[in-house]
């Protein structure tokens, strides 16, 4: 049995059923969404337990005719299953959290319907094997997220959503333009097919033009500097579980994942492109953190840190690309990419958790400005503990997961003799620590303000999903242990490192 299409079908179905049924039966929306996500998480974990892995699903049975893939291919390999796990696991946590959180809004069924659609879109992007389907699913996810950012329909939320739509629209246009040019140049949109064509003949400089368009388009979805300007507004205005999904998952699934897939497995690796990617990564890392430390709004601070942490991911991966393009020391390149991918995974967990804790604070106090909060550590123990765990993870304090991925990235950069990059990585790590201690200090420590004497801990579903993710922050450190690493992270790195194997695997079957 091939279960791949379920990743799209189930959430899409939920997204259709919820608005119809949910208006009458109040418990259906939350229940259905979370059941779907739970099922998909378990399915992904089962995939992961299989070890090295490659699976293709040909929609409608339309296979390869005379060497040309005519149908729609859905592909799951070691990299996509890692991203699928992020999407569905963090989605599940945010979904459970929403049960209590969303009570303060009206239109619960609309919220969960949009949530399911967003999941369907992200899953779709990750499993599709051709560019046009990536675009379609990307738009599903993006449009659902535009609506969710504006869900509070206050002035600032609408403004943020509008900015996000305009910039997101520009990026989607560029992606579509890139896809069009690709079709004009290669007469196919199947990633594997384009890849094999690119390897067999030299198409000239048009490839670089397509690369630039995709880099800008998906770079904007991944919120990399200089395309980051929409993110702080959008991520801080959305309802908190949605912020967790946007920062923790969306920028990775529809931004970072596609960049990884295309620049490793589709385009031939070139030095210039790798250099630009590394540069963008380093810029995001540095500029993001400097912007973050000056913020007083909890969620804005977190949002800027997303830019900075994505910068780490891209720097690690870019360094790997640079090493591959030079053709020297491939094991070191694999090490750098391992650091990047591990950080990608870790970031999804701790940033998701940070937004959930910020939401918990906002839920009880109604405020996002740290200066007006304070002393909550004496009243909201569980929120404080999980926020501390996530802060330590993002700041790279052992034994939390962020420490290990940053360690790998910094050491890989040094081993590759990129001294300046590693210096900046260290510097950014220090400033990250400072800004999170600032957050801890003003929000949870200091004196308890008069207004919050009667404050209570958040409701059950919120605290339990926060605690679960706090546990994950510690437990995922174990993924780096040799023996466990070979089952989960190393196959994903291998899928990227063996550049042409993707297309061989897809076309060969």
């Amino acid at each position: 049995m091939n279960y791949i299409p379920l990743y799209v079908i189930l959430p899409l179905l939920a997204g259709v059923i919820i608005p119809i049924v949910g208006r009458k039966v109040k418990f259906i929306p939350a229940l259905l969404t979370n059941l779907v996500l739970l099922f998909l998480t378990i399915l992904t974990v089962l995939f992961i337990l299989k070890g090295d892995f490659f699976m293709v699903y040909k929609v409608g049975g339309w296979g390869i005719i005379k060497g040309i893939p005519v149908g729609i291919f859905l592909v799951v390999d070691a990299l996509s299953r890692l991203v699928l796990l992020i999407v569905n696991l963090i989605g599940l946590c945010a979904g459970l959290y929403s049960i209590s959180y969303i009570k303060k809004f009206t239109g619960e069924e609309k919220y969960f319907a949009l949530f399911s659609l967003m999941i369907a879109g992200m899953n779709g992007v990750v499993i599709s094997g051709d560019l046009f389907n990536i675009f379609v699913f990307l738009e599903i996810a993006a449009i659902a997220s535009y609506a969710l950012v504006a869900f509070g329909i206050r002035k600032e939320e609408l403004e943020a959503s509008f900015k996000y739509q305009v910039l997101g629209g520009i990026s989607s246009m560029m992606i579509l333009l890139g896809i069009g040019i690709t079709y004009w140049a290669f007469s196919t949109l199947n990633i594997a097919d384009v890849s094999s064509l690119l390897r067999s003949r030299n198409p000239g400089r048009i490839v670089f033009f397509i690369q630039a368009l995709f880099l800008m388009g998906f770079g904007l979805k991944a919120a990399l500097v200089p395309f980051h300007s929409w993110l702080p507004d959008a991520h801080s205005s959305a309802p908190s579980p949605i912020s967790a999904m946007l920062s923790g998952v969306l920028i990775k699934a529809i931004g970072m994942y596609v960049i990884l897939r295309l620049f490793f497995n589709m385009f031939p690796v070139s030095y210039k492109t790798s250099l630009i990617i590394t540069l963008i990564g380093a810029l995001s890392m540095i500029i993001g953190v400097f912007l973050a430390i000056g913020q007083w709004d909890i969620k804005r601070l977190l949002a800027y840190h997303s830019i900075s942490q994505m910068g780490y991911v891209v720097t690690g991966i870019g360094a790997g690309l640079l090493l591959i393009s030079k053709g020297q020391d491939l094991s070191l390149a694999a090490f750098a990419i391992l650091g990047g991918i591990f950080h990608l995974y870790n970031h999804a967990i701790f940033k998701g958790l940070l937004f959930l804790t910020a939401g918990s604070v906002e839920h009880r106090t109604g405020l996002r400005d740290m200066r007006q909060i304070g002393g909550l550590g004496q009243k909201m123990h569980l929120t404080t503990t999980s926020s501390l765990a996530a802060s330590m993870a993002i700041a790279g304090i052992p034994p939390f997961n962020g420490f290990f991925s940053k360690l790998i990235i910094i050491i890989a950069l040094l081993k590759a003799h990129y001294y300046m990059l590693s210096f900046f990585a260290v510097l950014v790590s220090v400033i990250t620590l400072s800004s999170f201690l600032k957050l801890q200090r003003y929000t949870f420590f200091e004196k308890l303000k008069q207004d919050w004497q009667q404050i209570k801990e958040s409701p059950f579903w919120m605290t339990s999903s926060m605690l679960f993710m706090a546990m994950l922050c510690l437990v995922t450190s174990a993924l780096i242990i040799p023996g466990i690493r070979e089952r989960f992270l190393s196959p994903a790195v291998k899928a990227l490192m063996e550049l042409g194997r993707y297309s061989l695997n897809v076309l060969g079957q």
């Binding site: 509008f162 305009v166 670089f208 033009f209 210039k272 700041a395 050491i411 004196k447």
Partner: protein, 595 residues
Amino acid sequence: MGCLLGLVPDKARGLKGWISFIFLCVVFYFSLIVFKMENSSLTLTYPVIGSLSKFFHFRIDPLSKLVVLFIGFFGMIISLYSLRFVDGGLDYKGYYSKFLWTLAASFGAVLSDNLITFTLFWGFLGLTLYRFLRGSDERSVAAAKKSFILIGASDSILIMGLGLLWLKTGHYMISGMKVTLSGEVSIIAFLSLLIASLAKAGAFPVHSWVPDYTQAAPGSVSAFLPASLDKLLGIYFLARICTDIFILTPWAKLLLLTIGSVTIITAVMMALVQHNYKKLLGYHAVSQVGYMVTGLGLGSPIGMAGGLFHMINHALYKSGLFLTAGAVEKKTGQVNIENLGGLSTVMPFTFLSALIFALSISGVPPFNGFVSKWIIYQGIIDFGKGFSLASHLWVIWLGSAVIGSALTLASFIKLIGGIYLGAKRSKFKNIKETHFLMSVPYIIIALLCVGFGIAGTSVILPELITPVTGPFRFIGLWESQTVGILILLGILLGVIIYLMGNIKKIKTANNFIGGEYPAEDIQYPSVEFYKTLTDIKPIGWIYQKAREKYFDVYDWGKKIVLWASHILSGLHTGVLTLYVVWTIISLGLIILLLL
């Protein structure tokens, strides 16, 4: 040893103080066993999972044995003290579990031979340091934040140092590194590791967290982390850097000696003008590190011996001082020296112990501080016979060490005088001596101070220190007399400075007559004189700058970062068209670069 490491985290859930105390006695017993182990250099390898075992190399050599022994000892003593100190009112959630975690991480850091594992434990200690300080007032939160940022920054720099070391050697094992300091890579690696060790030990220029931390933390925590464990670990790592990881060059020695001297003088000067006795002790904790760094920086066996011996002595008397300070604070509720006085009659044991500690730290014979300082002085004189630039400057190192000692004495006369001597205040009439569970620990430590002082050269050195440094010879009689004279000079100088203070005191007291200050409020105004110190022109200017935090790297870093943040935020105006323009221009740039 592995079972020790394994046991501690498991038991860490035991929140009851007694359980952890009994458990820590067992741990101390284990440390004794480790200390008695025959193999002087041993690498244990565990058959865990395949390639993982390379991270589990533990190393037991004389240096780590020494440090393990004292970590175990302080763990036991301070937990005994905490039994009364913590139970009696201070609501410190998870105090004992943090205590045990800290101890476990310290053992792990000292014993691990793999630098990655070392960093893991080392970084975790920063977190426990942060978690120990859980006050709710603004100052203690700020202090915790500052400490953790400085420690965390040094940990990140340590990671960079590790990577650079790998470039030179190709592995992470401490044993068998021996990198020569030549070329940029190894020098930057040396500096990174140095910063990490100095930040932990609290030496200039990354010292500024120590006084803030001790001021805000309760006595037992100050005694446990900044006074004993962090010193032991920081100096342990520095010793490793100087002996095993790198081979020191004359320039590196010069750097270390400069850091040492600057630390001694600046910190003790700051200590002189403090009113809060816990902050005063914190500055002394920084100042004394200068002696250890100086000792290790000499690079000779005798300097090494002096540095390590001073590390142990300092851990003893400084943790003792913090424990007595904690007792005083608990009994009186006061943290400023001006508000205290005359406690010697009501708290005789505490007074006597504090007196012994104060004399030890000032280097008065026959206490232990004297012995180790004496060895360091001898080391400096011996070092002066060399031919490098650092050797020619030996007078500076010696001078700053002696002056530092004198100023230490002066400031401790103030502390002892201000807290314990003078007329008794009426509001302290009802104070009693502390519970014996609290006083026994510092009495034990005080006895050890005396014991180490008397038996220093005959028993302690051959037993504890010589296995680490290898045999060395005290230089001749003439020099030891000089040293003796120097010590006496230091003591005299201290007393003179103090007497000057008393003369001035009379003047200030006169001024108060008829003023609006009630005369009986100034019982023993030993503090007053030290204020006049800040009025002297050049020194006063320096103090002014120090108060404005001109010498604090943390503050500089904060200013620069916030400035950059401000500039960047200014660019983000929130205007959509601007953002669109950025996006399009960047796209154009990328296309230009690629085509």
